[in-house]
């Protein structure tokens, strides 16, 4: 018996004891009808080969370990960025349980969201009654200032009409006539979570700007000096948006963050549960129509939203999750150009510190090969930073990357001598990435938590940057934007590089001559 009260063993150690090992070996041999170990080994080796890679890349129907989620997840992300807003997802209720769990596992925070709980009868007759009852319940129980409605695939397949349903619900008194219930159709079988973000952001702005679904006069734009800022679906939203506010504050730029999730996913533990915290006020969302320009940090997350802003006469500028010296330079200089504000000396000094840090460390990164996967904009931002560091983003993969995205990544490769041997993989999944890592190995892998399976199978060290990150804590509190954000990314990369060097040089009397104390 290995367990003991003084030093309690849990699953890490308990099952390694001889009793359990014997038990598990016996289970396998006697009852599992196991494959011949030699056959398992043969297939395991075969799955590393170029031949397997070819078959793997010939897949047309099956997706294995994708790096994307569905539209409704992004819908919820966008909605909770508005003040006292509750996302209301019209469709099956299990979906909402999944979104809430997913966000809570990443941010380690509560995630409030409701469902219209449609079941079989709603599948037959439509979900109108669910909308009528649901809006009334949510409004009375959780006292939101706004209910943002989106859909699951169920409601989309049966063709529920949100605009008509919400109108009817208002007529039936579920919520007051003038109460804000913006909506967006977010079918899970179109695009990915970044599409859902875009649709809901656009839906909310359209609601306020274009006459609240025909119930109010459209706002007449009276251009002012303010700029709108949209972060997009971003696992680092907490740290990033706070950093952006600091940067814009230093520049003295009048601005509105549209969809500010930085407080709602970072509430204090002080004895009070805040279902709502922070967020863009509804007044700010409405007034955002008057802004001089709308800036998006993630082009592929805001394609339709920027279209809306442009249609209202605003200048629109989109970045691709900018990380690094040049990307931050461009970002700040664009802000300066649009607003006419100068960039303060303090930011020039921050820039200098980042350049200093890169110069200090670049010898350890220069020439290293990386594989990156994640959302399209994040991939672009990280790839650009790696090129800046003299590293090679050898494989860049986005399951939700489009052809246009791939062209943009290729253009980035072409802009640098370090991009010469790099390749972009739109629409591929992490099982494709596995073949890439076996057949064209790289030094490091950058991706979300699920990259740990690739690290285990291929031995490529994983640097966790992306969404979701479930198995490391609190990184979402750090920015990756701005010069200071790039510094964080630099340190995360360097830490892993140094850890690897130490790990590979620590065998006494064999390799430990390189186990250096100064690096």
């Amino acid at each position: 018996m290995t367990q003991n009260a003084e030093h309690v063993l849990d699953h890490f150690d308990l099952f390694r004891g001889p009793e359990y090992q014997q038990m598990l070996a016996n289970k396998k041999k006697m009852f599992e009808n196991p494959r011949d170990p030699a056959e398992v080994e043969r297939v395991r080796e075969w799955a590393k080969t170029p031949e397997y890679r070819e078959k793997n890349f010939a897949r047309e129907a099956l997706t294995v370990n994708p790096a994307k989620a569905c539209q409704p997840l992004g819908a919820v992300f966008a909605a909770v960025g508005f003040e006292s807003t509750i996302p209301f997802v019209h469709g099956s209720q299990g979906c909402v349980a999944y979104y809430r769990s997913h966000f809570s596992r990443h941010f380690k925070e509560p995630s409030s969201c409701v469902s219209s709980s449609m079941t079989e009868d709603a599948a037959v007759f439509g979900g109108l009654n669910n909308m009528i009852d649901g809006l009334a319940n949510t409004y009375n129980m959780y006292k939101p200032k706004m209910i943002a409605v989106s859909t699951t695939c169920m409601a989309e397949v049966i063709g529920d009409d949100l605009n008509a349903f919400i109108k009817t619900a208002k007529e039936k008194g579920s919520v007051p006539e003038e109460y804000d219930v913006p909506f967006a159709h977010t079918p899970a079988f179109v695009g990915s979570h970044v599409t859902g973000y875009d649709n809901v952001m656009k839906g909310i702005l359209e609601h306020f700007w274009d006459g609240k679904a025909g119930t109010a006069p459209k706002l007449e734009r009276q251009p002012n000096e303010s700029i709108n800022f949209i972060g997009g679906f971003d696992g680092y939203t907490v740290g990033n948006l706070r950093e952006i506010k600091r940067l814009l504050g230093l520049m003295g730029v009048e601005h509105t963050i549209l969809g500010d999730n930085s407080d709602v996913w970072d509430t204090p533990t002080d004895g009070e549960f805040r279902m709502y915290d922070g967020g863009t006020t509804l007044e700010e969302a409405a007034n955002a129509v008057h802004a001089k320009a709308t800036i998006s940090m993630q082009e592929f997350c805001t394609e339709k939203t920027l279209g809306l802003a442009a249609a209202h006469g605003q200048e629109v500028v989109a970045f691709n999750h900018p990380v690094g010296v040049a990307a931050t330079d461009r970002f700040l200089m664009e802000i300066a150009r649009i607003t006419g504000k100068g960039i303060p000396e303090e930011l020039a000094r921050e820039r200098g510190r980042l350049v200093d840090a890169v110069a200090d460390s670049s010898a350890h990164i220069h020439g290293k090969k990386f594989a990156i996967y994640g959302d399209p904009d994040l991939c672009l931002g990280l790839a650009a930073f790696l090129l800046e560091l003299g590293a090679e983003p050898t494989h860049v993969l986005a399951t939700n990357g489009s052809k246009a995205w791939a062209e943009k990544v290729q253009a980035l490769f072409d802009s640098s001598p370090f991009g010469k041997d790099c390749h972009v993989y739109p629409g591929k999944d992490l099982w494709h990435m596995r073949s890439l890592l076996f057949t064209e190995p790289v030094d490091f892998l950058i991706g979300n938590t699920y990259g740990k399976y690739l690290e285990r199978d291929t031995g490529t060290p994983l640097i966790r940057i992306g969404f979701p990150i479930f198995d490391r804590h609190h990184h979402h509190r750090y920015p990756v934007w701005g010069y200071q954000g790039a510094m964080n990314v630099l340190v995360w990369i360097l830490d892993r590089i140094f850890d690897e060097i130490d790990r590979n040089t620590n065998v006494p009397a064999k390799t430990d001559y390189s186990f250096d104390i100064i690096r």
Binding site: A5, L14, M23, F31, N56, Y98, Y99, C113, D133, R434
Partner: protein
């Protein structure tokens, strides 16, 4: 912290009734009427907990429940390790449930086992418009080519499948034939079916009956020599290794475990189960259906047990042994005696730190009742409990064997109700899921996830109880909870005599 300690049962009952009335006030009339049926104060001696259950959740209230797909793919089928489970439909369902439940298993993932992978048909608009059957056919070919050592395939239907009229049964049948009788199981667990995960469990159980048991060759030679002591563990998902720390006890008492359902389970084990002499059933809710079927069809008796905490473990070992001869009965006593010193040491260490602490639970499956004994072994008291997707037979078992007079009962609790109940009752610990965890921690209330064991475990068996006790202690007695209140805020101002 707890308010209940100094109160009489009558006072507690009155307070709980008042609390129920108070939370119902927030709802529109129709909703209040419906929710009232799900909330109650338990009266000792009653046959059930006096609440309605297994009814539709009310739109817009923030139910904690999931769906039938979660019950089938996430619970019953997903852990079967040597089969590939296709999340059939759009990408999300499989993505959010990908490796989230820690069903531990041994195997070479991606080669001969596949539990922590996400296989999906990733439906696009054209699949909705033209149907997904052709895609599914192709997917099965691609699985066979790229994952040749898989022992079977299941099709876990997501919402659209049943709505667009796909015939996954025909596809599965055709491919099974083409692949020489390979086990291919279509599962109609679309998320809109039923009112919670529960129907998904039932549908998944039925799919095992129809596509595993009914397809087996009755004349096939047994893969092993049966013994009079063969049992199958039913309804243990091996979260954090629970089934392993249970199996070891059954084997130590002289039984032979021929199958695990479904944590660390394999197709061969499912197929072997009709050879068992007894099915021992842990999660009654999710697997009573197949247990009843095996009783009717194969004459295998089944016996519920509870491996949380030494009191219930000893009771259960004796109950299981009662189905066998003296050799096994002696074996049970031997096992109980062997672990007694460990249990004594665990209780001696942790009980003084936990004595009198109160707990509120809201979980799924068997846990709203099964863990109560383990808390009581540590001197703790469960003052409120409820089921996410229980049926009346769960509440009967709860009333008759577990809860105390005056316990607050809440079925399919809403976010609002749970928050208010905890705020007023101020228990020392809340045990629920990831969606609830941070709500209560923000309120300064210690919390443990009682679905995933908060990434710890196992909690089953004697080895598991030591971990359970340690975890409850570290949750409740973490120094940080004394610091939740900002010290310079909310402190009563000292009397200013001069101002009098």
């Amino acid at each position: 912290m707890s308010l209940t300690k100094t109160q009489s049962v009558a006072e507690i009952k009155a307070r709980n009734k008042e609390l129920i009335a108070e939370v119902l006030e927030v709802y529109p009339e129709k909703t209040a009427k419906r929710r009232a049926k799900h909330l109650n104060v338990h009266e000792a001696g009653k046959a059930d907990c006096g609440v309605k259950s297994n009814l539709k959740s009310i739109p817009g209230v923030m139910t904690i429940r999931g769906c039938a797909y979660a019950g089938s793919k996430g619970v019953v089928w997903g852990p079967i390790k040597d089969m590939i489970h296709i999340s059939h439909g759009p990408v999300g369902c499989g993505q959010y449930s990908w490796a989230a439940r820690r069903n531990y298993y041994i195997g070479t993932t991606g080669i001969d086992t596949f539990v922590t992978m996400q296989f999906t048909s990733d439906f696009q608009e054209k699949d909705i418009v033209f149907g997904g059957d052709k895609k599914l056919l192709k997917i099965m070919d691609e699985i066979q080519e790229l994952f040749p050592l898989n022992n079977g395939i299941t099709v876990q239907s997501e919402c659209p499948i049943g709505l667009i009229g796909d015939d996954i049964e025909a596809v599965s049948k055709a491919k099974s034939k083409e692949f020489g009788g390979k086990t291919i199981v279509p599962v109609r667990c679309e998320g809109f079916r039923g009112v919670s995960q529960s129907l998904g469990h039932h549908i998944a159980n039925d799919a095992i009956r129809d596509f595993v048991f009914d397809k087996m060759d009755p004349d096939a030679a047994p893969k092993f020599e049966p013994t009079p002591y063969d049992v199958a563990i039913i309804g243990d998902y091996n979260i954090g290794g629970d089934a392993w720390s249970s199996r070891i006890l059954l084997e130590e008492m002289g039984l032979r475990v021929i199958a695990q359902w479904s944590g660390d389970g394999s197709l061969a084990e499912l197929e072997a189960t009709p050879k068992a002499k007894l099915n021992v059933l842990h999660c009654y809710r999710s697997m009573n259906y197949i247990s009843r079927h095996m009783e009717e069809k194969f004459g295998i008796p089944w016996c519920e047990y509870n491996f949380f905490g030494p009191s219930k473990i000893a009771e259960s070992l004796r109950k299981i042994a009662s189905y066998f001869d003296d050799k096994i009965k002696e074996g049970a006593e031997r096992v109980i005696a062997k672990y007694q010193p460990l249990m004594d040491a665990v209780i001696a260490k942790y009980r003084p730190r936990l004595e009198g602490k109160t707990v509120m639970l809201f979980v799924g499956g068997l846990r709203p009742r099964h863990v109560i004994g383990a808390y009581e072994d540590l001197g703790m008291e469960v003052v409120g409990t409820g089921y996410e997707f229980g049926h009346n037979d769960d509440y009967q078992r709860t009333a008759q064997h577990y809860v105390k007079d005056g316990t607050l009962i809440y079925d399919d609790v809403t976010g609002y109700e749970f928050e208010k109940f905890v705020e007023k009752i101020q228990p020392d610990l809340v045990g629920s899921g990831i969606k609830e965890k941070y709500v209560f921690q923000k309120m300064g209330v210690p919390f443990r996830q009682m679905h995933s064991w908060d990434y710890s475990g196992p909690y089953h068996g004697y080895d598991g109880f030591a971990i359970f006790a340690r975890d409850m202690d570290m949750a409740i007695n973490a120094p940080i909870w004394k610091m939740a209140k900002t010290p310079w805020k909310g402190v009563p101002k000292p009397n200013l005599i001069a101002a009098d």
